[in-house]
């Protein structure tokens, strides 16, 4: 079995593993900056797997978490090119072993009365939540490590997914890696 990597399960068949990198990019929080960052990837032919962006504790800055599927050598080039963007303040590549990563999934599932119980049980096992219920549909949410979210999505699939939206991963360096006291990580 190939190692499962979040967000790319579908292209990562046996012997066809795609290497992923997670970049955490601190940028100035102003209009057009996301376009500049995204442009740089498309112009060099790199595919962004997922991207999440929001302001940081300091409203002057935003943090963009980018998952990109490149080999390590072009990654060095793209990091250097990113660093040349005037609005990019800081870039770090997050090693999954030394970072905490989370993703949120929302999904609407076909769940007629006779199968609703199974879906509810699944959501409970994964510690997800049920957000809305109709006669034959459920909307559920799950927050967790991207591989856990992958697994959840996989398990939901046989019930019939009507609509699904994932946020793409957000990540921060793990505190113990920075020399602070170790914090247990649920993932």
């Amino acid at each position: 079995m190939p190692t499962r990597t979040s967000g790319t399960r579908r292209d990562a068949g046996p012997g066809h593993e795609v290497r992923h990198h997670v970049l955490s990019v601190l940028v100035e929080n102003r209009s057009g900056v996301l376009a500049r960052v995204a442009n740089l990837f498309s112009r060099r032919g790199y595919n962004i797997v997922s991207l999440a962006v929001a302001p940081t504790e300091d409203e002057q800055f935003s943090r963009i978490t980018i998952v990109v599927d490149v080999e390590s050598s072009p990654l060095e080039q793209i990091v250097k090119q990113l660093d040349k963007l005037v609005n990019v303040v800081d870039i770090s590549e997050l090693d999954p072993r030394h970072s905490v990563e989370r993703e949120l999934l929302l999904a609407s599932i076909t769940a007629p009365a006779d199968r609703r119980g199974q879906v509810v049980e699944l959501v409970q096992i994964f510690e997800g939540r049920i957000l809305a219920v109709t006669h034959d549909e459920l909307t559920v949410s799950l927050e967790g490590h991207p591989t856990k979210v992958d697994d959840f999505e996989e398990m939901l699939r046989p019930f019939g997914i009507l609509e699904i939206q994932r946020t793409g991963r957000v990540a921060l360096p793990r505190l113990d890696h920075l020399g602070a006291a170790a914090v247990p990580d649920a993932s």
């Binding site: 376009a35 080039q77 090119q81 660093d83 963007l85 005037v86 303040v89």
Partner: protein, 591 residues
């Protein structure tokens, strides 16, 4: 002090030391043009916005100061995209002001609206859409700071009309000129590198002293860093040969005993082969361009690489350096000089480089740049025209060129003796560059003679700027090498497309270049036979009150040699057929 945004913009340009700007007004930029009348800045009215951009580039190439161009929104802005891309590729400091439709109209497909910051994102070092009149002084300061520091480049500032239009209350602003500190703090993500890592400099110095076949591979970055003197010192101290790339011609004098001239696709045999056989490349402000390396896998296979560049992204982009040094070329070359001196004083021994020097001398003797003597009745040899021109002008003459065969011959056959005397479009390869670039260079350096060498194809792209030159009394001189073809394309079709000449013939007589020149207020001269070359040049050199165009009728069969065919290794360099006898030439290598 109360002023409007347009006045603030012009005042900010004055505060940045702008002496001259190149531009063409239009609807959206109209309010900024009004205060131009009251400004100390000389404005040069071009005939096409592309001309304004290339003039600003020529000015920057020749002076080292940022070129400034100003145009209107929409088509005015899109017409200057090519010069921006050109300046971006060749790291030319330039600030371009574009008009934009009023803020409330942005995004409505208004008349002459275009998203120029979006369009130019990938061809500028940075760009700004200014959204408040109060921001204008800071944005102009940021623009000049970004354009001129680190790896220089073009910066575009897009100005919506309502924030500069005095009839609009939104244009009212105070005047607050930010300090250097405030500018630096306003750009938290912009930290241009300066000095290099001392430990890397030491490792580089050790490699330099230990190398048997070292070559200084010098690129345009040396000129951008104002490092020609430091380079001279390093070369003489270490006694290492120098190649100057197309962008670095003039950074090291061609008549110096250590100068090997230009490497690359049309570099001379010795420069190309010295890089190829070297055991140490000291790359200074060079970027291992494909036109220099040929097939990368086969480039300088035995060489270790020291790579000095102010742009970290160049280090390892094409060739992984053994010693990367990130920083300003001038500071690092000075550090290298000091480090080598210390090591020499401490008794460092350099291997015997006499065999390498004699190998190089052998190549130089066997494969000089050369062309076949013309036969009776032949049209002019372009190389001969350039030799005459070279020998008839002051040695500090600034030479501009377009793109193609004439550019290569100009670079090959000129003898550059001073930095900043060569103005050309290297990275983007922009046909039509030379006439406006020469005009910009002459505006920046009115004390120098400025010649443009152009092809007939290039000339037809931007010749209208000679009207600008005549009107503004900018006495540039243009030598058109008229071979009636898009010559470089013709050369490739002859060599690689079985002489199938598709859409490259231009006609020698249409247009009539002499009449065209005269109609634009220039003196027009034509030279068709070898005896006419020198008198035509002499006459042109005597005229200093208006532009001159000299049309030389040249031989369309002439090809640029040597040549490393595209995608081939530099080992496959082709010398001209008459030099290739005795198994010499293709794949000959370092014998």
């Amino acid at each position: 002090m109360e002023l409007n945004g347009g006045q603030a913009l012009i005042r900010a340009l004055e505060m940045e030391g702008t002496e001259v700007m190149f531009g063409l007004p239009g609807g959206a930029i109209l309010p900024v043009y009004d205060p131009v009348l009251d400004s100390t800045i000389r404005h040069i009215l071009v005939r096409h916005e592309q001309g304004a951009g290339h003039m600003a580039e020529g000015y920057a190439h020749a002076t080292g100061r940022p070129g400034v161009a100003m145009v209107t929104s929409g088509p005015g802005a899109t017409n200057i995209v090519t010069p921006l891309a050109d300046a971006y590729m060749d790291s030319v400091p330039m600030v371009c002001i574009t008009g934009q439709v009023p803020r409330p109209a942005i995004g409505t497909d208004a008349f002459q609206e275009c998203d120029i910051t979006g369009i130019t994102q990938s061809v500028t070092k940075h760009n700004f859409l200014v959204t408040s009149a109060d921001d204008i002084p800071m944005v102009i300061r940021q623009a000049f700071h970004i354009a001129t520091t680190g790896r220089p480049g073009p910066v575009l500032v897009d100005i919506p009309k309502d924030i500069v239009d005095p009839t609009n209350p939104a244009s009212a602003t105070g005047w607050d000129w930010p300090s250097d500190d405030e500018v630096a703090r306003s750009l938290p993500g912009y930290r241009p590198a300066t000095s290099g890592d001392p430990e890397a400099v030491e490792r580089a110095a050790a490699l330099i002293l230990a190398a048997e076949r070292p070559v200084l591979y010098v690129g345009g970055g040396i000129l951008k860093a104002r490092a020609a003197e430091a380079l001279h010192e390093l070369a003489e101290l270490t006694d290492i040969h120098v190649v100057t790339t197309l962008m670095a011609r003039g950074a090291f004098p061609d008549d110096h005993r250590l100068c090997l001239g230009m490497p690359g696709m049309h570099g001379n045999y010795t420069a190309v082969t010295a890089l190829q056989r070297s055991d140490l490349l000291i790359a200074l402000g060079a970027r291992f361009d494909d036109r220099v390396t040929g097939k990368v896998a086969g480039f300088a296979p035995e060489a270790k690489v020291i790579h000095v560049d102010i742009d970290a992204a160049e280090l390892g982009k094409v060739r992984r350096p053994d010693v990367p040094i990130h920083g300003d070329c001038r500071l690092i070359v000075e550090d290298l000089v000091a480090a080598v001196r210390r090591r020499q004083a401490a008794g460092a021994v350099t291997p015997d480089r006499r065999p390498w020097r004699s190998t190089i001398s052998g190549w130089q003797e066997r494969y000089p740049l050369a062309y076949e003597e013309p036969q009776e009745g032949d049209q002019l040899k372009p190389q001969m025209v350039l030799e005459h021109l070279r020998d008839s002008v002051p040695e500090d003459t600034i030479l501009a060129s377009g793109v193609g065969q004439h550019q290569m011959w100009a670079s090959q056959y000129w003898r550059f003796r001073h930095p900043y005397t060569w103005v050309n479009s290297g990275g983007l390869g922009t046909m039509g560059f030379s006439v406006p670039a020469a005009i910009g260079a002459k505006v920046g350096r009115p004390d120098r003679m400025v010649w443009a060498v152009d092809g007939d194809g290039c000339f037809q792209m931007t010749a209208q700027e000679l009207v600008t030159a005549s009107a503004e009394r900018i006495p540039v001189k243009v030598a058109i090498l008229n071979n009636a073809y898009l010559g470089m394309v013709r050369q490739w079709q002859e060599m690689f497309y079985e002489e199938r000449y598709s859409e490259v013939y231009l006609s020698p007589d249409l247009p009539d270049y002499v009449k065209w020149a005269e109609s634009m207020g220039c003196v027009g001269i034509r030279a068709e036979s070898p005896e006419e070359i020198q008198p035509a040049i002499d006459k042109a050199n005597e005229i200093d009150d208006r532009p001159v165009v000299v049309e030389f009728r040249t031989d369309s069969r002439e090809k640029v040699y040597p040549m490393v065919p595209s995608g081939k290794s530099n080992d496959d360099i082709q010398v001209p057929p008459f030099q290739a006898g005795g198994g010499v030439g293709t794949g000959e290598g370092g014998n």
